[in-house]
């Protein structure tokens, strides 16, 4: 039995230590917002946060999580998350939607680290998240809109 800090709560899991965090979340805890896409960290659909850093959960074994705080799309909250969801809704970014939890998790980590990313910085930070529907132009706009909507006072937190 392993205990992880998941979305603000300690959770006991029975999976073996080599189980990728993605499959702990989906297979054991039935938190299905984190998506399986490739299994080799090539598409970003499984992106979660470990202590606020965007991480591909499909290649992160349970044993590597340790005491770090795990956040999934179900637990993403706060002013930055609200700004992103607001922009995503306003610009109607989503199409099939399968990659979108991963897109939002990567976008959140980006705007926490970089208060006003340029388009090139957005491209660089978001290019690990594939979308077959082609939501890229709207994702790019929405990230920019989210950073503007939350105003100059918010930014990276220590």
């Amino acid at each position: 039995m392993t205990t992880i800090q998941l979305n603000g709560r300690p959770v006991d899991v029975s999976a073996e230590a080599d189980t990728p965090l993605l499959w702990v979340l989906r297979g054991e805890l039935h938190l299905t917002g984190t998506k399986f896409g490739c299994g080799i960290a090539a598409c970003g659909a499984c992106t979660i946060h470990l202590d606020g850093q965007a991480v591909r959960s499909c290649v992160t074994p349970l044993s590597a999580v340790g005491t770090r705080a795990v956040t999934t799309i179900e637990g993403l909250s706060g002013p930055d998350a609200d700004a992103l969801h607001g922009a995503w809704t306003n610009l109607d970014v989503v199409q099939c939607g399968y990659c979108q939890p991963g897109q939002l998790m990567s976008a959140w980590a980006l705007i926490r680290a970089n208060a006003e990313p340029t388009d090139l910085e957005i491209d660089a930070a978001m290019s690990g998240n594939l979308c077959r529907c082609g939501t890229y132009p709207r994702v790019r706009l929405a990230v920019r809109q989210a950073t503007m909507s939350r105003g100059p006072s918010s930014g990276p937190t220590p």
């Binding site: 989906r26 299905t32 090539a42 799309i73 199409q95 529907c133 082609g134």
Partner: protein, 758 residues
């Protein structure tokens, strides 16, 4: 021969099917409410909508939502005529197997007629096909047909429901119907009487279903024609939307499959001892290939990871089968050599093209090629099945729930009515989920689990390596010009596999005829007024499994035709847009789209020069498909090291009446990005029957850093709505290839577009 069998053969022989809704009284598709299951407080007055005493309006969806926004757009059609409050609108999937939900439009669209052909034979065939499809058709989401198919039926159902609510209010209030107004889900009368839908639904349900309710004029629309946002956006953002792979059931087990690396192969023998000792493993079973799929091994375990891990440790001896000698190189050689001897079935002929070519002052010839392509939907292939007490329940992301139900029944040896389908949201379809191999396979696996529900999940590698691929194609052109550069003759013949033949075989086990519109669409059905023309296609039977892909034949013929058109314009020393316009004198709709894209892209002004050491170019393409006309201008920059960047794409679409401009713009962006993935990177290669690529590292979709700015313009129109999901795809590859030529003088005649060898 059973009637159904005969009809299906007819479908196979004619290519596929679809009808213009204009031929068909939509009210006959309304159906009564008995076919819909009603929850507490819900009443269905017809087959398309339920109203709750809590005022919710639940619109019944016969089409799968796979990103195209169809649930939102179809709900708009019904809710507008109903004068419902949009915030009270919900959607629910239709029951599978009821003919009112069959797709008529897509089959009529598949008939092999030129879009200009409105003659007696075309009209009769379309009418007969539509009639046939009403009875013997299938519930299908594909062919950019959903709005076309339901434009009238959904509105009629909304108007009919509104009429019954008005009648109920009139009876209750004892006032004439004509004095009652409806807006925002509320009925009211000048004397102050007021009632919500929920308050009147019980009374309305006692009245007789009406099919004569008048429809609104375009000026009366409150939702239709407005840019409406997607209904399921929040659920998809929060991770609470349920795709097929997200279904969770009590006691559910998970299966992972490893299929024969050679397409079409089967298991000869297997050693399961090691796998059975691994944690959580319940069963290891050999599985046949179903509905065109490949045989393999399935491991059933308590968690997905246990199943995946154990699947890798099963030792299998494969029986490779006939594909083991096939390579994509040998396929391309076969297709090219076919064109040395065959002229193919002529889908379009006018005048004597051979004589016209011989008499031309100048001839231009070229050969073009396109590779196999996979679909690579973001949601990996999966399906959940429970088989207990002779009944099956299926949770699947599918574009064809009716065919899936049949396939499951066949695998399990039960009647179709013993199979309940739950269609989930699709994490992408693109034609992959028109096939049912994975659903039949999941049923076979569930059979082994003896009553427990099993979710079968493919790895990404199994998905890329066991797809039904967009056919490879080789196409040869000759054009003749007179001394002044005027086009005299156009001859085109291509060779490739028939997707319709392959699919009819997989769905029904039936042979198909020698004509398949999808093999030639995009080449014979374009608007250009050639003085003399012959466009043919030779179907070559090969073992590679092929399937429908976004825009199907248009996806490669658009590239061939519009690239060669550019070559001919260059040979004629003519501007590419002016040259095309000269061939569109009797096609004002197409000319308008082309003229508009030239204006928006600033075609008359020179393109801004790039930074020193780079070369820039601009290319245009025009294409008609699924009833819509699209023109694109692509602007590219080529760096000193020959790397290519597509900077901007300007796209103009005429898709008839724009029902939801927001979804249309999304679909244009989507098709451009999907088409660019294929144009710049997409290629499936096969060696000894095995697909080389396996994941997103070697089958590369476009990434955000490669995504151009996309400018979209929708032509205002009051014509009936046409296709949207696919039409913006075919022009992107030729627009980019033509831009590359403008920048470099290099003509790329093969996809993907590569400026230098890898």
């Amino acid at each position: 021969m059973k009637r159904r069998t005969f009809v299906l053969r007819l479908v196979a022989a004619t290519g596929a099917l679809a009808v213009g809704w204009t031929f068909f009284p939509p009210r006959r598709r309304m159906g009564d409410g008995s076919r819909i299951s009603e929850g507490p407080g819900e009443t269905a007055l017809n087959g398309w909508v339920k109203i709750g005493t809590d005022n919710t309006v639940t619109v019944i969806m016969s089409k799968s939502e796979m990103g195209q926004g169809i649930h939102t757009t179809l709900a708009m059609l019904l809710a507008d005529e109903l004068d419902a409050d949009w915030s009270q609108v919900r959607v629910e999937m239709a029951p599978v197997g009821d003919p009112i939900y069959n797709n008529i439009a897509t089959v009529v669209d598949g008939l092999p007629f030129h879009p200009d052909d409105h003659g007696l034979i075309q009209r009769t065939t379309a009418w007969l096909t539509a009639k046939t499809m009403r009875e013997a058709g299938v519930m299908i989401t594909g062919g950019s047909s959903s709005v076309k198919d339901l434009w009238l039926p959904m509105r009629q159902a909304g108007a009919s429901t509104r009429a019954l609510l008005v009648s109920a209010a009139a009876a209750t209030w004892k006032v004439p119907e004509s004095t009652i107004t409806v807006a925002g889900g509320v009925l009211s009368h000048a004397n102050g009487l007021r009632a919500t839908f929920g308050q009147l639904i019980t009374e309305a349900s006692t009245l007789t279903l009406r099919s004569d309710a008048p429809l609104k004029s375009a000026a009366q629309f409150t939702l239709i024609g407005k840019p409406m946002r997607r209904l399921e956006s929040a659920a998809k953002q929060r991770g609470t939307a349920t795709f097929g792979i997200d279904v969770v059931l009590p006691g559910m087990q998970y299966a992972s499959v490893v299929m024969c690396p050679v397409l079409g192969g089967t298991v000869a023998s297997m050693d399961t001892a090691a796998a059975r000792l691994l944690p959580g493993v319940k069963q290891v079973v050999a599985i046949d290939g179903h509905n065109g799929g490949t045989g393999g091994v399935a491991v059933i375990a308590d968690t997905p990871w246990h199943a995946m891990k154990a699947a890798k440790s099963v030792k299998v001896a494969w029986s490779n089968g006939a594909m083991a000698t096939v390579s994509s190189e040998s396929v391309m050689r076969t297709l090219a050599s076919t064109l040395d001897t065959e002229r193919g079935h002529a889908y379009l002929t006018r005048g004597n093209v051979d004589d016209a070519l011989a008499a031309a002052a100048k001839q231009v010839t070229a050969e073009y090629r396109a590779p196999f392509l996979a679909h690579a939907t973001m949601e990996p292939i999966n399906c959940t099945v429970q088989f207990a007490d002779g009944r099956a329940t299926v949770w699947a992301s599918t574009q064809v729930p009716g065919l899936a139900r049949r396939a499951v029944a066949k695998v399990l040896g039960i009647a179709s009515d013993q199979v309940t389908m739950h269609v989930q949201l699709l994490g992408g379809g693109f034609g992959r989920r028109l096939d049912i191999d994975y659903i039949a396979q999941a049923a076979a696996i569930a059979q082994a689990a003896q009553g427990e529900p099993v979710q079968t999940i493919w790895s990404r590698e199994e998905d890329i390596r066991h797809d039904f691929y967009r056919p490879a194609c080789v196409s040869r052109f000759s054009a003749g010009l007179d001394a002044s550069g005027k086009l005299l003759a156009w001859r085109n013949v291509s060779a490739g596999q028939s997707v319709v033949a392959a699919t009819i075989g997989r769905y029904f086990g039936l042979p198909a005829g020698p004509i398949d519109k999808t093999t030639s669409e995009g080449s014979f059905d374009q608007p250009y007024e050639y003085p003399a023309v012959r466009v043919g296609h030779a179907i070559v039977e090969l073992l590679v499994p092929t399937g429908f892909w976004r825009a199907v034949g248009h996806s490669h013929h658009g590239f061939f035709t519009e690239s060669f058109m550019d070559e001919v314009a260059v040979a004629a020393k003519s501007d590419p847009i002016a040259f095309r316009l000269a061939l569109l004198a009797k096609h004002p709709r197409h000319a308008r789209v082309l003229t508009r894209v030239a204006e928006l892209a600033g075609w008359a002004s020179p393109l801004d020069a790039g930074v020193e050491g780079t070369r820039r170019g601009r290319g245009v393409a025009l294409h008609e498909s699924f009833g819509s006309v699209v023109a694109q201008v692509a602007e590219v920059t080529i760096a000193a090291d020959n790397t290519l960047r597509v900077d901007r794409v300007v796209c103009v679409i005429d898709c008839g009446f724009p029902v939801n401009p927001n979804m249309i713009q999304q679909q244009v962006e989507s098709a451009v990005v999907f088409g660019l993935s294929a144009a710049l990177h997409g290629e499936i290669t096969i060696t000894d029957g095995r697909v080389t690529q396996g994941n997103f590292n070697d089958y590369r979709p476009l990434r955000m850093s490669e995504c151009p700015a996309i400018v979209v313009d929708i032509i205002p129109s009051v014509e009936h709505p046409e296709g949207v999901g696919e039409p913006p795809l075919p022009p992107i590859a030729p627009a980019v290839a033509n831009a590359i030529f403008a920048a470099t003088g290099t003509r790329l005649r093969s996809l993907p577009l590569r400026l230098s060898e890898r």
